[in-house]
């Protein structure tokens, strides 16, 4: 999944990878493309994790893990960092999700469970800000419930903000005419994919 997302990130793109599954995209970026990673805590030009013993906890990513800085990389404060998102300056952001709706609504910050402590972080800013918002998630929940749905039942992160959905089963575009299937994994038919999806799909 991570490799498939990475394939769609063009040379020269400035990209924010959300915490969790999307972080793995960094390990699959195609060689020969200059792709610049942004992190909301104030860095553009993040490099790979430092070697053991060389961590510096003043240089971390949004997941609070130590990272490195590539030549050309820069630091900036939080208001500038979120201006980069909200202002539409990021080319791509890749986010995890609980649910995505047929119209591109995203739910990824809160399960809504009464005993859960709500925490939103930068999710809402990221979702609505980038030129393209990619979601990367399992096609269904562990119990088999669809995560691509007609309407989100979890609390929303953003409305109509998702551009493309990457799952373990398919790549799906959120378009004006609905959910358009771009690719399906080998061995799975369109009808089988539809059966695992909570909203009508269009053939590409």
């Amino acid at each position: 999944m991570a490799a498939r997302v990475a394939r769609d990130i063009p040379d020269g793109a400035v990209v924010n990878l959300g915490i969790g599954l999307p972080t793995m995209v960094a390990n699959h970026l195609p060689t020969g493309r200059e792709i610049v990673l942004h992190s909301e805590n104030g860095v553009i030009g993040m490099g790979p994790a430092p070697r053991e013993g060389e961590e510096d906890f003043d240089l971390i990513n949004a997941g609070k893990q130590p990272v490195t800085l590539l030549p050309g990389g820069v630091f900036f404060h939080h208001a500038d960092s979120f201006a980069m998102m909200r202002g539409g300056h990021l080319d791509v952001c890749v986010l995890g999700a609980f649910q995505v709706s047929a119209s591109g609504d995203l739910a990824n910050w809160h399960t809504g469970a009464p005993d859960a402590i709500p925490a939103v972080g930068g999710a809402m800013d990221l979702a609505i800000g980038a030129k393209k918002t990619y979601v990367m998630m399992e096609h269904t929940t562990k119990s088999g419930e669809p995560k691509v749905v007609e309407r989100c039942t979890y609390p929303l992160t953003g409305i109509g903000c998702v551009t493309r959905i990457y799952t373990d089963l398919a790549v799906i575009d959120v378009s004006r005419r609905g959910l358009a299937v771009v690719e399906i994994v080998d061995g799975l038919s369109f009808d089988m994919l539809q059966a695992r999806t909570g909203a009508p799909l269009e053939r590409a």
Partner: protein, 233 residues
């Protein structure tokens, strides 16, 4: 003569009153002014409103302030962390008020306060629970939510180098909320690892001009429990 350097952490926080609103910089371990928070704990001010990205980690800094029940309300974006157990306990017991703010709105509301802006319309959060009850407006075909500035009585920030006018530079991602919080508080107190003579900091590289800083305290890097270089062996 302007001399913003204060001799001790204790002196820097001595006049913070009960009921004060205190901004605390930092994201993760980077830029957390834990030494100032420790001094405030010792000083004893209570009934505080805290503005920070998180809600305390482990047992030190903000977590210790929460554990000592000095905080009435916290304004933050991401309280839930693996080691935020003091906040978790108080929140579940209904003993602390939480205002949850998307992180970019948090930064911009702080910046707005510092810049004298009375509020702004942002697309972030539109149509979500966190925009409930807030004014909305359609501008050029897009929907926006009205957000108000976040002011504070005091801001605690952790910088790298400073001079007696309060000019500051930061270190890598420890910059995070420092520059905007410095603008938004009546009294901004910065810690630095190095005090340098006036004129030493490259004017092209000063990140926070001294006009936004009222007090500055030098602290040892080795004593820094969060952020900064690794602890000396």
């Amino acid at each position: 003569m302007i001399q913003k350097e204060v001799a001790s952490l204790q002196a820097a926080v001595a006049d913070i009153a009960d009921g004060a609103t205190v901004m605390i910089g930092g994201f993760g371990t980077a830029g957390l002014p834990n030494e100032l928070v420790g001094a405030l704990l010792e000083q004893g001010a209570k009934d505080l409103t805290i503005i920070n990205n998180n809600a305390g980690n482990g047992e030190t800094g903000l977590a210790a302030l929460l554990a000592a029940r000095r905080v009435r309300k916290i304004v933050c974006s991401f309280p839930r962390q693996v080691d935020s157990h003091h906040f978790d306990r108080l929140y579940r017991a209904g003993e602390i008020e939480l205002e949850l703010v998307p992180q970019g709105n948090l930064a911009e509301r702080i910046r707005a306060a510092g810049a004298g802006i009375g509020g702004f319309f942002t697309p972030t959060g539109y149509g979500t629970e966190l925009a409930k009850g807030k004014e909305t407006r359609e501008i050029d075909g897009r929907m926006y939510v009205f957000e108000t500035p976040l002011h504070a009585d005091v801001a605690f920030i952790k910088a790298e180098r400073g001079d007696r006018w309060g000019n500051l530079t930061y270190r890598m991602t420890a910059r995070n909320f420092g520059p905007v919080m410095a603008m938004a508080a009546k009294t901004t107190i910065a810690t630095v690892h190095e005090m340098v003579p006036l004129g030493t900091l490259d004017p092209e590289c000063v990140v926070t001009p001294g006009i936004f800083v009222q007090r500055i305290v030098r602290i040892d890097r080795v004593a820094t429990s969060a952020g900064g270089f690794r602890q000396q062996a």
